[in-house]
C-alpha cells in the first residue's frame, strides 16, 4: 500500500466514528480514569446499550488531562453537539443512554461541556476557561482519538511527517530541528538538533536511538499520559530521529510501574509495523528500523542518560563520568541519541508545520510548549500544556483553579527531587528553562505540585532528601554520604532536636554536594532543601527554636486534642476509629485522647463529624491542657 492509500483507509475508519450515523460514546480509560472507575462505566454502557438494543458504539480513549473529573464520558451524535460528562458513575449511565444516546435531552445537569477539536485542531472544552490558557500540541489528540487504533492518528495527520522526512536529506532535517530551537524535555534542556548532529557526525556503522520513558520523578505523569493517550506520535518521532542519525535499532526504556502505557505501546508498535511505518524498508524508502521496549526495574537514577544505557545492557544503572558523550560512545559503546518521550513527540509537528512555526512559540531561550503534571492541593489536578513563558501563577490559578477547600497557597514544588519550592512572591516567574533555574528550581520533568498552609516545608525537604538518599547509586561519596548527612540533620529538625547552626550547615553541605557530585542526581539533590531554606527559613526556625511545626505536620511536634466544649459526648466515632484504643471517655462523656498511647494517625480527626469538628492538632504538644483540666467541659 502507498502512504496515500494508507491515509485514505485511515480516514474512512475515522469518519465512521466521528461522522457516522450512529452515536458514539468515548470513555477515557487511561490509568487515572481507571482508578476513578472508568472500566465499570464502560461495562455499564455496554450492558445498557445491549439491553436497549441501541445502535451506538463505545470507544475507549486516552486522557484529556482533567484527572480530577474522571471518569469522563463524551457522547457524540451525528447531527448534534458532542457532550462531555464528568465524574460519571455506572448509576447514571441509564439516564445518559435514555437522555442523549437515544433521545434529544443532553442531560445538562450532568454535563461538563461540549467537546471540540479534531481534524488538526487540538481537543478542547469551550465551557472550561482553563482551555483558553492552554496551548495544546502534544496533548492535541489526547482524549480524542483511540490510542489503540493507528488509523485515528493517521487520519489526524499522523505519519505524514515521517513520509516527508524519509524524502529529505538527514542534514536538512537536522537543520530544521536546530532552527526550531527545541531543547530536550527530559530536564536538562540540551538542544535536540545539536545532539542529533553530533551523533550523525560520530564515526561508526552501528548507531542507536533511545527514548527515555523512565519518568522517575515521583509526582509527574506527563510521559505516562502521552504514551497512554497518543503513543504513535512518539514512535513517529523516534523513527525520524533514527533515520536522521542513521540508526536501525531503537529502544524505549519505560518504567515498569506503568503497565497500561507498556501495553498500549506494544500494541502501537505492532500496528505501526503492520502498516509498514516500522520494520524493513519503511514506506518503500529503503530505510529499515525497529523499536524494542525495555522495562525498567525501578531505580530513579536509571533515568540519567548514561545510567539508562547500562540498564539496557543488563547492568547496574550507575551513571558514569563524561566525556565520552553518549552521542560518540553510548549504548554498547556505539554513538547513541537519547531523548525524552515529549522531545520525540514534538518532532513530527516540527517537520509538518516548520521550524519557524515552532520557534514563534515560547520565549527567547525556550521554544514551543511545555507539558506539566498538576498535582497536590490544586482544584483541578491533571495535565496542562502551555506555551513556554507562561507564569506559574497562570498555571496554578487559571488552569489549576487555585488551591482547594479555601486554603491558602504556600508554595509550589516544581521539577521533582531535583527541583525547588517557590513561594507566592515567585509566582510571576515564567516557566522556561532559564527563569526557573534562576529561581533555584528546575524545569526538570515537569511535575508541578501546589502546597497549602497544611504542608510543612521542612518535611517536604526531608521527603525529597529521603527519596534521593535511598536512590543515590553510591558511586561517588559526595552524594552517598552527603545526602545522608543532610537527611540526618533534617530528621533531627523535624523531631524537635535541631540546633540553629544546622540551617547554615545544611546550606554549606548543599552547596558542596551540588558542586562536587558526579551526576545530575547529586548535583541537584540539595535543591529542595536549599530553596525551602531560602524562601521559608522562618519555618526551620520555628521547628528548632520553638519546637513547633507551623503546618502541624511533623509528628514529633504535634499532638491531637479533643476540644471538650465541642465534643458531642454521645457519639463514639473517634473511639471506634482509633486503631490503638487511645480514646477514652470522662464521666460526662467527653472523649479524651491518652497522649501516651496515641500514634498520631489522624483517624479521629477524619471521622469526627464536621458539625462538631472537635479534634484539633496542637503544636508544640505542650499546648495540650494537663489531665485534670479535662473535666471542666
Amino acid at each position: 500500500m502507498t502512504f496515500a492509500e494508507i491515509q485514505n483507509q485511515a480516514k474512512s475508519d475515522w469518519d465512521s466514528l466521528y461522522h457516522g450515523q450512529a452515536p458514539h460514546i468515548l470513555i477515557g480509560t487511561a490509568t487515572c480514569g481507571r482508578a476513578a472507575g472508568a472500566l465499570s462505566v464502560v461495562e455499564a454502557f455496554n450492558k445498557e446499550l445491549a439491553k436497549r438494543n441501541a445502535e451506538a458504539k463505545v470507544a475507549e480513549v486516552g486522557c484529556i488531562g482533567l484527572c480530577s473529573l474522571e471518569p469522563l464520558v463524551t457522547i457524540i451524535k451525528p447531527d448534534s453537539f458532542a457532550v462531555c460528562y464528568n465524574n460519571v458513575i455506572p448509576q447514571v449511565v441509564p439516564t445518559l443512554v435514555e437522555g442523549y444516546v437515544l433521545g434529544d435531552d443532553p442531560c445538562l445537569d450532568l454535563a461538563l461541556g461540549t467537546l471540540g477539536g479534531g481534524e488538526g485542531e487540538a481537543v478542547y472544552i469551550p465551557e472550561l476557561s482553563r482551555f483558553e490558557h492552554e496551548h495544546r500540541l502534544l496533548l492535541r489528540n489526547c482524549g480524542y482519538i483511540d490510542p489503540g487504533n493507528i488509523n485515528h492518528y493517521i487520519a489526524n495527520g499522523g505519519y505524514s511527517s515521517l513520509a516527508m522526512a524519509l524524502k529529505m536529506e538527514p542534514a536538512a532535517i537536522i537543520e530544521e530541528i536546530k532552527s526550531s530551537g527545541i531543547r530536550g524535555r527530559g530536564g536538562a534542556g540540551f538542544p535536540t538538533g545539536r545532539k542529533w548532529e553530533l551523533c550523525r557526525q560520530a564515526p561508526g556503522e552501528t548507531k542507536y536511538v533511545i527514548c527515555n520513558a523512565d519518568e522517575g520523578d515521583p509526582g509527574a505523569f506527563m510521559d505516562r499520559v502521552v504514551l497512554e493517550s497518543d503513543p504513535q506520535q512518539v514512535i513517529e518521532g523516534i523513527t525520524i530521529a533514527a533515520y536522521t542519525v542513521g540508526a536501525h535499532d531503537g529502544f524505549i526504556y519505560i518504567r515498569a510501574e506503568y503497565p497500561l502505557a507498556i501495553e498500549r505501546l506494544k500494541l502501537a508498535l505492532e500496528q505501526a509495523k503492520n502498516l509498514g511505518m516500522l520494520g524493513d524498508n519503511i514506506l518503500g524508502s529503503g530505510f529499515s528500523f525497529d523499536i524494542e521496549i525495555v522495562e525498567g526495574a525501578g531505580a530513579f537514577v536509571s533515568g540519567e542518560s548514561t545510567a539508562l544505557m547500562y540498564a539496557i545492557e543488563g547492568r547496574r544503572s550507575m551513571p558514569r563520568a563524561r566525556p565520552p558523550h553518549s552521542v560518540k560512545s553510548g549504548l554498547w559503546g556505539k554513538p547513541t541519541v537519547l531523548n525524552n518521550v515529549k522531545t520525540y513527540a514534538y518532532v513530527p509537528l516540527i517537520i509538518a508545520r516548520g521550524a519557524d512555526w515552532f520557534s514563534s512559540l515560547g520565549t527567547e531561550g525556550s521554544k514551543g510548549t511545555a507539558v506539566f503534571a498538576l498535582a497536590g492541593k490544586m482544584v483541578s489536578t491533571g495535565l496542562a500544556e502551555v506555551a513556554m513563558g507562561t507564569t506559574l501563577h497562570e498555571l496554578i490559578f487559571d488552569i489549576g483553579g487555585g488551591i482547594r477547600s479555601g486554603k491558602k497557597f504556600k508554595a509550589v514544588q516544581i521539577g521533582g527531587p531535583s527541583g525547588g519550592c517557590l513561594p507566592e512572591s515567585m509566582l510571576r516567574t515564567p516557566v522556561d528553562f532559564d527563569s526557573l533555574h534562576k529561581a533555584g528550581a528546575v524545569m526538570g520533568s515537569g511535575g508541578v505540585i501546589a502546597m497549602d498552609e497544611d504542608n510543612c516545608m521542612v518535611d517536604t525537604a526531608k521527603f525529597f532528601l529521603d527519596f534521593i538518599q535511598k536512590e543515590s547509586c553510591g558511586k561517588c561519596s559526595t552524594c552517598r554520604i552527603g545526602t545522608k548527612h543532610m537527611l540526618d540533620i533534617l530528621e533531627d529538625i523535624t523531631a524537635g532536636k535541631g540546633k540553629i547552626e544546622d540551617v547554615d550547615l545544611l546550606v554549606e553541605l548543599g552547596e558542596d554536594i551540588g558542586g562536587g557530585s558526579m551526576c545530575g542526581l547529586g548535583r541537584t539533590a540539595p535543591n529542595p532543601a536549599l530553596t525551602t531554606i531560602r524562601y521559608f527559613r522562618d519555618e526551620y526556625e520555628a521547628h528548632i527554636l520553638e519546637k513547633r511545626c507551623p503546618a502541624l505536620v511533623c509528628k514529633e511536634l504535634i499532638a491531637y486534642y479533643i476540644l471538650p466544649d465541642k465534643c458531642e459526648r454521645g457519639c463514639e466515632h473517634c473511639v471506634l476509629a482509633c486503631p490503638v484504643e487511645a480514646i477514652g471517655s470522662t464521666e460526662k462523656g467527653i472523649k479524651v485522647i491518652d497522649q501516651t498511647k496515641c500514634t498520631k494517625c489522624g483517624s479521629c480527626q477524619l471521622v469526627c463529624p464536621p458539625e462538631y469538628n472537635a479534634v484539633v492538632k496542637l503544636s508544640p504538644p505542650s499546648l495540650v491542657p494537663a489531665a485534670g483540666a479535662k473535666d471542666k467541659g
Binding site: C67, G216, P218, A220, A256, P259
Partner: protein, 162 residues
Amino acid sequence: MEELKQKLSDILKPDKKNRRHLIYLLQAVQQKSGYLSKEAMLAIADFLDIPGSTVYGIATFYNQFRFTPLGKHPVKVCMGTACHLVGGKLVLEAMARELDIEVGGITPDHEFSLDRVACVGCCALAPVVVIGDSVYPKMTPPKVEEALVIIKPVSQEQSEKQ
C-alpha cells in the same frame, strides 16, 4: 537446579541467552513466582554463564526485585510526592497496622504483602494504594480497613471453592 530450570524453561529460552537480558529474566521469573529465590537466581546465573554474585548484585540494585514471596493480594502504597503531601505515610502506617506486617512483609496466611512504591502516575487522585491490579484513589486510614475487608472475604470464598 535442573528441576527448577525445567520449571523456568518457558523463560530461560535460547533467544534470551545473552547478558543483556539479565534484568528481563529477573523480571520474568519474579512475574512467574512472585519473588526471586536464591535457587532461581542461581539458575539464571547458570543459564547466562555468569557468576551468581553478579545476578544478586543486579537484583539488589533495583527496587523492583524482592526476595520474599508476594501475597495473593500484593498491596503497594504510593509514597510519591503528591501522595506524601496528602497523608500517604498515614495510609502506609494504617496498612501496616491493619495487616500487622512491616513494609516488605507478608501476612502469615500469604493473603497480603505490603510494599511502598514511588508514584504510580495517578497523583491527581492521591493518596493512592494499589492492590493487585486495582488502583484505590483518595485513601485515608479508615478507608484502608474498608478496602481490606472487601477483598478478604472474596478471596476466602474463592479458596474454599478450590
